[in-house]
């Protein structure tokens, strides 16, 4: 690991100032991804700004909105009665990610800031436009079994690694940000980016901006939800495909549906068209099959990842069936 200086600011303002003044500085919370990247030489910040002592640890439900502070711990959020009762999809997604040791360290904000696990991004001897813009993409034409089937560009085909974020995308969360020029709110769908010509940018945070929390509005998705994660081993592996499915069912009609995919794009991949198709329909396997076809119409595959299209379709059908308990 490179040498770096360390600062533990006593206020949010001091933390933001420290990052704003120094381009080589990074916030550290759980550190589970950042320290790993630093050990691999993928990133080498010269200063770490520790935000763990800032008052960003609250979990509260008020005015029909769940507020999660940025440094709330993944395992605590997953086990919190408010989350389990009102937002079970989020709890399921969190428990599908990492191991209990890592969930005991990882934070809500840090989880959103995770970098891709693309092996070409991690291997500093390989070309990677995300790590070193302009060097090319090793995965296009390389071993791209784990890579994107939606929204990729000719610069980058990496996928976003989080499970938590797939649930947050499905549940229409809002990211609360503080920065040198004040605070702002970013709808979850606009937080992460597609790679385009700037794959080095994972998200739309500005210089010096700090995630202070996430808000999720109350929703009717308390019963018919399912987070399905398909991976190379039963636990503790990144997703090949994951599905966050939430249904609001009244009688034999789907009033509302939420669907998002993980492991398939540079950001959580919300399936708006399939959601629309399901609205007003009966929760049957036949309808879920149609939704899965609609959901994967825009898929584009590479040499080794064409299997992800049928896998995504089958996963959508399974997740919706489990959510609907049919």
């Amino acid at each position: 690991m490179n040498q770096f200086s360390y600062v533990r600011p006593a206020s949010q303002k001091a933390a933001i100032d420290a990052i704003f003044r120094d381009n080589t500085a990074r916030f550290i919370a759980g550190g589970t991804n950042l320290l790993d990247l630093m050990k691999n030489g993928v990133t080498a910040p010269e200063k770490l700004v520790d935000i763990n002592r800032l008052p960003l640890k609250d979990i509260r439900f008020s005015n029909n909105i769940l507020h999660l502070g940025a440094t709330t711990i993944n395992s605590e959020v997953a086990a919190h009665p408010l989350v389990k009762t009102h937002f079970p999809l989020l709890s399921q997604a969190l428990l599908a990610g990492a191991s209990q040791q890592l969930r005991n360290m990882a934070t809500t904000g840090g989880n959103m800031m995770q970098r891709t696990r693309c092996s070409y991004f991690y291997d500093i001897t390989m070309p990677c436009n995300k790590r070193s813009p302009g060097t090319g993409c090793g995965a296009i034409g390389g071993i791209n079994r784990m890579h994107a089937i939606f929204g990729a560009s000719d610069q980058c085909i990496a996928v976003h690694p989080s499970d938590m974020c797939i649930a947050l995308a499905a549940l229409d969360a809002t990211v609360i940000v503080a920065g040198p020029k004040g605070g702002r709110r970013i709808p979850f769908a606009d937080f992460h980016r597609l790679p385009g010509n700037t794959p080095e940018k994972d998200n739309n945070l500005g210089k010096g901006e700090l995630i202070t929390g996430v808000e999720i509005p109350a929703n009717p998705f308390t019963r018919h939800v399912y987070y399905l994660k398909v991976r190379d081993r039963a636990s503790y592996a990144f997703a090949l495909v994951s599905v966050a499915a939430a249904l609001d069912i009244s009688g034999s009609t789907i009033r509302q549906a939420r669907l998002a995919l993980g492991g398939v794009a540079h950001k959580p991949w919300r399936l708006y068209e399939a959601e629309k198709m399901l609205t007003g329909k009966a929760p049957t396997e036949e309808n879920f099959r149609i939704a899965a076809t609609v959901a994967t119409r825009s898929a584009a595959t590479f040499q080794h990842n064409a299997f992800k299209v049928p896998m995504a379709q089958n996963s959508i059908i399974t997740a919706l069936s489990k959510a609907a308990a049919i």
């Binding site: 600062v7 191991s99 209990q100 040791q101």
Partner: protein, 212 residues
Amino acid sequence: MSQADKEQSSCPGKPDKHEARREFLRQSSAIMALALAPPLIVKAGEHDEAIAGIFEKMPVNMEINGKAYRLSVEPRVTLLDLLREQLALTGTKKGCDHGQCGACTVHVNGQRVNSCLTLAVMQEGKKITTIEGLAAGDQLHPMQEAFIKHDGFQCGYCTPGQIMSAVACIREGHAGSPGEIREFMSGNICRCGAYDNIVAAIMEVKQGGQSV
């Protein structure tokens, strides 16, 4: 006498090649260090609670296995390296050093974590328990006893991490069934493949109802 020995003995006043190289490395790394260190490493903010420069050690207070320590560490030292290299608590193992194997599992304020992926300077005021702190004197912890009884290891390298993780697994309430144990122990890899016996050990301690 070989050619090299002759050359060396012919100029006794000169350092041998290896020594010269070592001296060069010493000098060049010192120069490198100066070059890397900006004139003012860190501008201390008025509101900073704690601060350490690039080559600066900073004081850290923590309690490890019930004993209070006042330590001095560089920012880049992980909790794992602090335990092993500075405090000689080598029961905690370095497996992958990337949070993928669980061999470095310790408890911080009662929660199991990967000590390889957290910095020692971030542990100010925390209570750490390592495998060395689990037994009560000569009396092994019930989980240690159960691992021995059920042959929960072969080479033993992952065992301290497995045991720390297993104790936490029961305390968290995640040891209700073999399936739940497998899921919540998935962050601890055993290359020898002693998983069945590890699950049996955890099940026995859980069902024994002993205080862990």
